[in-house]
């Protein structure tokens, strides 16, 4: 080969993905070309450096409190239980090993793709609307409780979304949270059924907002766990639950058209 191999060819030579003929011609050129040998050496040096990068980088803070707070604040569907024996197991096994070249365990990996149950479409089920209606009634009853509950009163005017009367005791906070969890779970289940009807952009925005709120909830719960009875933290926690509830109610109401 008299023509200089391009960088892609050199990269493939390093990766061992050239055909035997391509490899032979490239290597024949390299024997006689100082410039290409230098380019190959530089490429190999770069790849060696990449391989030498540390595989571990510790986060700046201990994430465990936030992890457990998130687990406790948003129990959600336990994917592990569904995967074991439930009819809607959410486990997929990939067809290929996850790693190459002995970098890690080459045995077939059981890959869990945590996700919610596959949404049903309107066309696939004539009972969908009825189910949605039943779910809405159930949700409404819970939401109604939240609205009329003294601990969850929302004031009018500027800042209404954060002007929620805080529960007086840790036990009241716990009881109120349980109600919020129930209400939001019901709405999330309803939304899950409806999500296939929503534009992908809307789903993306919705999920991002829910993620932000869930994170705020986890942080508030973690802070409150360290300072039980702190009225300000209780108020923040309740207000954050209100945000989540409001977002979910808006999303489900828009979809169903109520």
């Amino acid at each position: 080969m008299n023509i200089h191999p391009d960088e892609d060819r050199l990269t493939e030579l390093v990766d061992g993905t050239l055909t035997a003929a391509e490899q032979a011609s490239t290597e024949a050129h390299l024997v006689a070309c100082d410039e290409c040998r230098a380019a190959l050496a530089a490429l190999r040096s770069l790849i060696d450096e990449l391989h030498s990068l540390p595989r571990d980088i510790k986060p700046q803070r201990d994430l465990r409190p936030a992890i457990w707070a998130q687990v406790d604040a948003s129990p959600g569907t336990d994917v592990s239980l569904a995967a074991v024996g439930g009819p809607q197991a959410d486990v997929q096994a990939p067809p290929v090993s996850a790693v190459r070249d002995g970098v890690a365990d080459p045995s077939p990996a059981v890959i869990v793709l945590p996700r919610r149950a596959a949404p049903r479409t309107l066309a696939s089920s004539s009972g969908w609307l009825a189910a949605a209606a039943v779910a809405l009634i159930a949700v409404s009853s819970t939401v109604t409780w939240l609205i009329v509950s003294p601990a969850a009163q929302v004031s009018d005017g500027i800042g209404a979304d954060v002007a929620v009367t805080s529960p007086a005791t840790a036990a009241e906070v716990q009881a109120l949270e349980a109600r919020y969890v129930l209400a939001t779970q019901e709405l999330e289940q309803l939304l899950e059924v409806q999500r296939s009807q929503l534009p992908p952009e809307t789903v993306g925005i919705l999920e991002e907002n829910l993620r932000i709120i869930d994170r705020a909830l986890a942080e508030a719960a973690a802070a409150l766990a360290g300072q039980p009875g702190n009225a300000d933290l209780s108020r923040i926690l309740v207000a954050t639950w209100e945000k989540k509830l409001g977002l979910l109610r808006t999303a489900t109401a828009l979809e169903v058209g109520i």
Binding site: E12, V79, A98, L113
Partner: protein
């Protein structure tokens, strides 16, 4: 007095039974690798925190489905890749790379390149790569996945993986030689 060293498999078994202490130890053992993957894939330190947190929350919830057919570290790693790729697809975030470089510079460099400055330069250059090229480079050159597997994960053709890899290496060489 006899010291007992708990095997990783025992920790997993205990965690599967609901033992949070055992899961905490699994976290301690694996968080560095999980976080490194999240940080390099997103080039966003704050996002890496969130995704690391999400990965462990999902791991806790999915533990019962882990049957020991692969190493727990491999299982957790693939779960983390899924978490990151879902997030990348959803948000397409491209900002805050400067913050990542700062974060990398502050981290312990034990076990890194002989020349710490070279490592920082390399991490900085990786963080500035385009998203697609960076994802392929991290998964292939740092994490050691096969090109075919990366194609499956990213939902692209193997040829595209190669093209992105070549592009990433070419960009890295150009940026490191400045």
């Amino acid at each position: 007095m006899r010291l007992s060293v708990e095997r990783p498999a025992d920790l997993v078994t205990r965690a599967q039974a609901g033992d949070r202490g055992a899961f905490d130890r699994l976290y301690t053992e694996h968080v560095g690798h999980v976080y490194a993957l999240c940080l390099r894939m997103t080039a966003d330190a704050e996002r890496a925190d969130t995704l690391t947190q999400d990965a462990f929350v999902r791991a806790w919830r999915a533990l019962a489905s882990f049957r020991g057919q692969s190493a727990f570290s491999s299982w957790l790693h693939r779960l983390t890749v899924n978490v990151v790729l879902e997030d990348v697809r959803r948000t397409r975030r491209r900002e805050q790379r400067v913050q990542t470089v700062d974060t990398l510079e502050r981290h312990d460099t034990a076990g890194a390149l002989a020349d710490p400055e070279s490592r920082v330069d390399l991490e900085r250059a990786i963080a500035t790569l385009p998203d697609g090229a960076r994802a392929v480079l991290v998964l292939y050159d740092i994490e050691g996945y096969r090109q075919e597997d990366i194609a499956c994960m990213l939902g692209i053709a193997v040829g595209t993986v190669k093209a992105q890899l070549h592009r990433a290496r070419r960009l890295l060489r150009g940026r490191l030689s400045r």
